[in-house]
Amino acid sequence: MEPSISQQTSPGLVEPVKPPKSQSPWALARRKFLRNKIAMVSLVFLLIVCAMSILAEPLTMPVEETAKINLTQMSKEPSAEHYFGTDKSGRDVFARTLHGGKTSLLLAFSITISVITIGTLVGATAGYFGGWVDNALMRFTDFMMNFPFLLFVIVLKSIFIESSTGTLIFVISVLSWTGTARLVRSKVMAEKENEYIMSAVSIGCSAPKTIFKHLLPNVMSTIIVQATITLAAMIVAETGLSFLGFGVPINIPTWGNMLQEARSPDVLTSKWWIWIPPAAVLTFTILSINFIGEGLKDAFNPKSNR
């Protein structure tokens, strides 16, 4: 039967059968990620947290209002008026949690972007050029790695009298790009041995062009996964530092600053509504980011077939 069919159909009449369109690695990764339930739930959760934080002002009150001390409303339990109750200065905990989320997440995202940028630039430069450039940059990276993170963030932070969020971003970034730099370097070193890089160089691509147009897109998956891990770590770093009093100035609501209230035994013992909300949101946000990171890692890994 089969041959006759093929004889009957003349090539001009039948649409040529398209070979199944091969998917780009990105499309494959996207499909794999979309099918990963835990990662998707986490992503939705993270988006909700982000959206609520961004919309903190229309949803509750302007940020100046959250700082207002209200002596008539001190330490009120959760009610219809104050969903999460009020803290010891009569400030609405719900509004502060949302505004705190805005500051904490914005800071974490900014720090992550700057950490990943520095790390990628250093790593890609070292990996691509090799030789003495690599040697010098990596020696420097190794040297920076010796400094215990928390300790030196505190020391650096104390240098600036005007403590603002900007100095915090700077201080944390300076101390945390090393891991990314090492990772990107090793990936770039492996990738640059491929023929397409050689051909790019041989047709006269300049070094920056080769790195940005040809090399980095191919190590992007690694960088993205690293960025998610960094994001989670930076939320911890920011809140931890604020909690210790070395982070964001205390008058700005952040999750860390809100948790600082729990350092007074009275709040910790009998006023759970003041510290449980930021603690819970903080933990679940980090958890969801970790799951998203896992999901991305899985999605980008051609060997995994989940």
Binding site: F143, N146, F147, P148, F149, L150, L151, F152, I154, V155, L156, S158, I159, I161, A232, V236, T239, G240, F243, L244, G245, F246, L259, A262, R263, P265, L268, T269, W272, W275, A279, L282, T283, F284, I286, L287, N290, F291
Partner: protein
């Protein structure tokens, strides 16, 4: 190995020198000095302060001050604490045992929990228990240590009242008695649990994956073929091989523990190195701050060296050179 160790140690000297320059410069960059805030409130006469500055050598050129500080450091003398009015080394010597006790207790908890969980997960991979264990580890990885500490204090110290919430020793106990050690243990267990139990994720995952991988190897098949009991295969054959690589993580942990102790000790007001550090930064007690910064950085260096050495020790295929 010995040659390698010696070479690495010698290689550390210039790095330690550079670190000392960084630490000293940072301390000098900090606004104010020990005298600007913490002086005797009854005597704020500017002339007196100036005189004190002169006496302490704070008006000398910076390089001179550095050389003076560094020559002390080389001899193990970090100067005097301005706040505590005692030699820094004495002060640290007082606090260090607390941090070491806390660190060892935390490490033991980490290893014990990770061993038990990893062994179970590795043997019964993809079972309900395995999923529960990995859920715990995901949670432990996500909870920031200070949140974990707050929850632990809330549950165990306040609601259940099993252990005290702060300090490292009860009041009025005589050193050396049984009560003293019991009180010490009671005060240490909660911070150690927070430090230790939250760090199990990496170890558990490591052990689990290694055991799953090993269980597909030929020697395991051989053991099965000759009729060895399943429990013996896991406990004797696989576990012995899988437990070794975990040791290599120890080196990195040494420095991490001291770093992590900063937050945990502060929350529990546990008088160790980490808490002392936060206190000294807040009080601008530079000599103490610089001493702790130097010590912990050198500890990181040594921790990395130990990790490398352990790698070579555990896996003879790795040549240290």
């Amino acid at each position: 190995m010995l040659q390698y160790t010696i070479r690495r140690l010698i290689g550390m000297i210039p790095i330690i020198f550079l670190i000392s320059v960084v630490v000293f410069s940072l301390a000098k960059l900090m606004p104010g000095d020990a005298l600007s805030g913490k002086i005797d409130p009854l005597n704020s006469d500017p002339e007196y302060i100036e005189e004190m500055r002169d006496k302490m050598g704070l008006n000398d050129p910076i390089p001179v001050q550095y050389v003076r500080w560094m020559s002390g450091v080389v001899q193990g003398d970090f100067g005097d604490s301005f706040v505590h009015k005692r030699p820094v080394m004495e002060l640290i010597g007082d606090r260090l045992p607390n941090t070491i006790i806390l660190g060892i207790a935390a490490l033991l908890i980490t290893y014990l929990l990770a061993f038990l969980m990893g062994r179970y997960s590795g043997r019964f991979a993809y079972s309900v228990g395995d999923y529960l264990i990995s859920a715990f580890n995901y949670l432990a990885l996500a909870i920031p240590s200070f949140v974990a500490a707050l929850v632990a204090i809330y549950v165990f110290a306040i609601n259940l009242g099993w252990v005290p919430a702060s300090g490292s020793i009860g009041s009025g106990v005589e050193p050396g008695t049984l009560d003293y050690y019991l009180s010490k243990a009671k005060h240490t267990v909660l911070p150690a649990l927070v430090l230790g139990a939250m760090a199990t994720a990496a170890y558990t995952q490591f052990l689990r994956n290694d055991m799953i991988e090993s269980s597909r190897k030929d020697y395991v098949r051989t053991a099965r073929a000759k009729g060895t009991k399943e429990s013996a295969i896991y406990n004797k054959h696989i576990l012995r091989n899988s437990i070794i690589p975990i040791v290599t993580l120890l080196g990195f942990d040494i420095a991490n523990l001291f770093g992590g102790a900063i937050i945990t000790e502060t929350i529990f007001t546990y008088p160790g190195i980490g808490y002392l550090f936060v206190e000294s930064v807040n009080a601008r007690d530079y000599s103490v701050m610089m001493a702790i910064a130097m010590m912990l950085t050198i500890l990181t260096l040594i921790g990395n060296l130990i990790a490398d050495l352990l790698y070579g020790l555990v896996d003879p295929r790795i040549r240290l050179s």
